[in-house]
């Protein structure tokens, strides 16, 4: 239904034969898939399937032993965290990873740090180029704050915010970097139905208005089936299925992985 409205483009990121192991534990084994421009890709699977590890590989937190990751046409063996951020990959975390002592505004502004170029001496003076730059970025951040409807908590230290809002601020921080690829690690974990609906709306809006490509991990199957264009299913570190939500839903291997098989 959605895929008919927006144009899903060429491949943005391609993961080929990635294998990641920690000692004897094989977290990811020989997984390949691709993320296409403008799509919402859901990565699902039972606990311990290697979903978060996969995101960590994509944004460079983990370095896989084998495999090739191609982002924007550049193939490489592994990503580096800083490079990944500079190339336009942003993410949120399963357990909210905000800067607790800073206000909502500062948290989101920090998301734009890579784009702020003024050096030490300009910032020491404050007035002049550094202030111009601050104000310019502040405008962009205020747009995001409007978009996420968090105007009222602009100056509140994020440590004091309820969980649902913290998740939203974290999304805002990721958006502030204007990423090409947004990785969301369980954006709706621990939320009630209303909060989930809000978050879904934001994810769909980000995808449609900014054209951001989104890869998300989610356990709520209703949400996954509703908002994603394609689904990749992992189980015990292997990819067991890939396709549209409807295809995946009917896939016998997926059903077995979730419900178990009698032997």
């Amino acid at each position: 239904m959605q895929s008919s409205r927006k144009a899903i483009g060429e491949t943005l990121l391609k993961v080929e034969n990635v294998t990641l192991s920690f000692g004897a534990v094989k977290a990811i084994q020989d997984v390949s898939f691709e993320i296409r421009r403008h799509e919402i890709l859901a990565i699902i699977g039972p606990n311990g399937a290697g979903k978060t590890s996969m995101l960590n590989v994509i944004n460079g937190a983990y370095h896989p032993q084998h495999g090739i990751i191609t982002f924007k046409g550049q193939p490489r063996h592994d990503m580096d965290k800083h490079e990944a951020a500079a190339m336009g990959i942003a993410r949120t975390f399963q357990n909210v990873a905000l800067f607790k002592g800073m206000s909502t505004l500062d948290n989101i502004l920090t998301g734009r740090n890579l784009k702020m170029k003024r050096g030490l001496f300009a910032q020491m003076l404050y007035f002049g180029p550094a202030l111009d730059e601050e104000v310019e970025h502040r405008r962009k951040v205020e747009d995001i704050i409007d978009f996420l409807e968090i105007n009222a908590i602009r100056k509140t230290p994020v440590g004091r915010l309820p969980y649902g809002l913290q998740k939203r601020v974290e999304l805002g921080r990721a958006l502030a970097a204007e990423p090409d690829l947004l990785l969301l690690d369980e954006p709706m974990a621990g939320m009630n139905v209303e909060e989930k609906e809000d978050m879904c709306r934001f994810i769909l809006d980000v995808n449609e208005e900014f054209g951001t490509t989104i890869a998300l991990i989610e356990h709520d199957m209703g949400v996954v089936m509703d908002i994603s264009d394609r689904v990749v299913v992992l189980d015990y570190g292997r990819k067991i299925a890939e396709g549209t939500p409807n295809e995946v839903r009917r896939n016998q291997t997926v059903i077995d992985a979730y419900l178990g098989v009698s032997h």
Binding site: N59, A61, K81, H82, A84, A85, A86, A90, R91, F93, A97, L98, F99, K100, G101, M102, D106, L109, T110, G111, N113, L114, M116, R118, L120, Q123, M124, L125, Y126, A130, L131, E133, E134, V135, R138, R139, R173, A177
Partner: protein, 354 residues
């Protein structure tokens, strides 16, 4: 009733980012500066200027330095005294060898040397955190103290290992009187406190706080931990270095390396804990507290007509000090600066609670 921000609308982001967005705060700050620059040097007596205000200002500067590193960037350090020594001894060596150089330039030089040494000793912070980093900076403290005693070149081969501050001459202004020393210290501290405030409210300050609060997330955003931490170490040590040089030249006059011992480092750490971690204002409050408390205890002791022995008083100082530090850690971990902030919030509504 007087402290109200209603009716003060901010229509630009520039206004919103001002240090004192509320007009009353701005006037109060200007008044305070006027008092500090004009009234205090005229009215203050020699004892107060020399033994209380000047050391208070210099300690505040060192506390700002440590606060940048520990309060903002989250890297616990016990090396502040050592970096102060580096500043003092580099300024001394520069002025002994090149006497015609301006004192302010010498201060900058001392700060830069301290910054380089600080960045060097900050390298372990890339791998270790918290208590372990504290031990690593403790090594810096002892190593610096030891090298200034061990190598006579640093003290210009003075037989006693003590350096004497050369007279300060700035564009013909001979800084000798205690009010002159006070004004020079005040000018340096005011300018550097402003610069520190500018740094911590800009993108550099945000990257420091990001590393402090959640280093994993900071890296994912693209903040490079190495550059950020080393910059914090360098800037912090610059502040400590300048403070050390002022301590030697404006306060003590004659300095031996022991003057910047581990006790100094601890004292500065207590200042920022009591004053408030991650607050420039807190650095001043903490320094004031630590400088004034012994004097207050002294006055209170004699004021009560108790005939106390000096040993008893100094022991009481330790006891009161220790218990206050514990009290602060339990009751208000954000220090005096946070209390001040709460008081201001309350004052905004006073006397009507709505």
């Amino acid at each position: 009733m007087l402290y109200r921000d209603s009716g003060q609308f901010k229509s630009t982001y520039e206004d919103d980012r001002a240090i004192f967005p509320i007009a009353q705060d701005r006037y109060a700050m200007l008044a305070l500066l006027a008092v500090a620059f004009v009234a205090v040097p005229i009215l203050g007596n020699d004892y107060w200027l020399r033994s209380i205000f000047t050391p208070f200002l210099i300690y505040s500067l060192a506390a700002i330095g440590l606060n940048i590193l520990t309060g903002y960037a989250g890297q616990v350090s016990l090396g502040a005294g050592g970096f102060m020594a580096v500043g003092a001894f580099s300024v001394y060596n520069l002025l002994v060898r090149v006497p015609e150089i301006n004192f302010i330039l010498a201060l900058v030089f001392g700060g830069l040397v301290a910054a380089a040494v600080g960045a060097l000793f900050g390298i372990p912070s890339l791998r270790i955190k918290g208590l372990y980093l504290m031990v690593a900076t403790l090594a810096a403290q002892f190593f610096i103290e030891w090298s200034f005693t061990k190598f006579p070149w640093f003290t210009n081969y003075a037989p006693s290992g003590v350096i004497s501050a050369t007279p300060i001459d700035m564009f013909g202004w001979k800084v000798e009187e205690s009010w002159e020393r006070y004004v020079l210290a005040l000018a340096v501290v005011t300018a550097m406190a402003l610069v520190a405030k500018n740094l911590v409210r800009g993108s550099i300050g945000r990257s420091w706080m990001a590393i402090r609060d959640m280093d994993v997330a900071a890296e994912i955003i693209g903040i490079q931990p190495m550059q950020t931490k080393l910059l914090a170490f360098a800037v912090s040590s610059f502040y400590c270095g300048v403070a050390g040089a002022l301590w030697a030249y404006l306060y003590l006059g004659t300095v031996e390396p022991v003057a910047f011992g581990i006790n100094t480092s601890f004292q500065i750490l207590f200042m920022i804990i009591i004053g408030g971690l991650g607050s420039i204002l807190g650095s001043f409050l903490g320094a004031g507290f630590i400088i004034l408390l012994p004097i207050f205890i002294n006055i209170a002791g004699t004021g009560l007509g108790l005939n106390l022995s000096t040993a008893f008083i100094s022991h009481m100082e330790f006891i009161i000090f220790g218990s206050l530090i514990i009290l602060f850690l339990i009751v208000e971990p954000h220090g005096l600066a946070r209390l001040w902030q709460i008081a201001k919030e309350k004052l905004r509504l006073w006397p009507f609670p709505y």
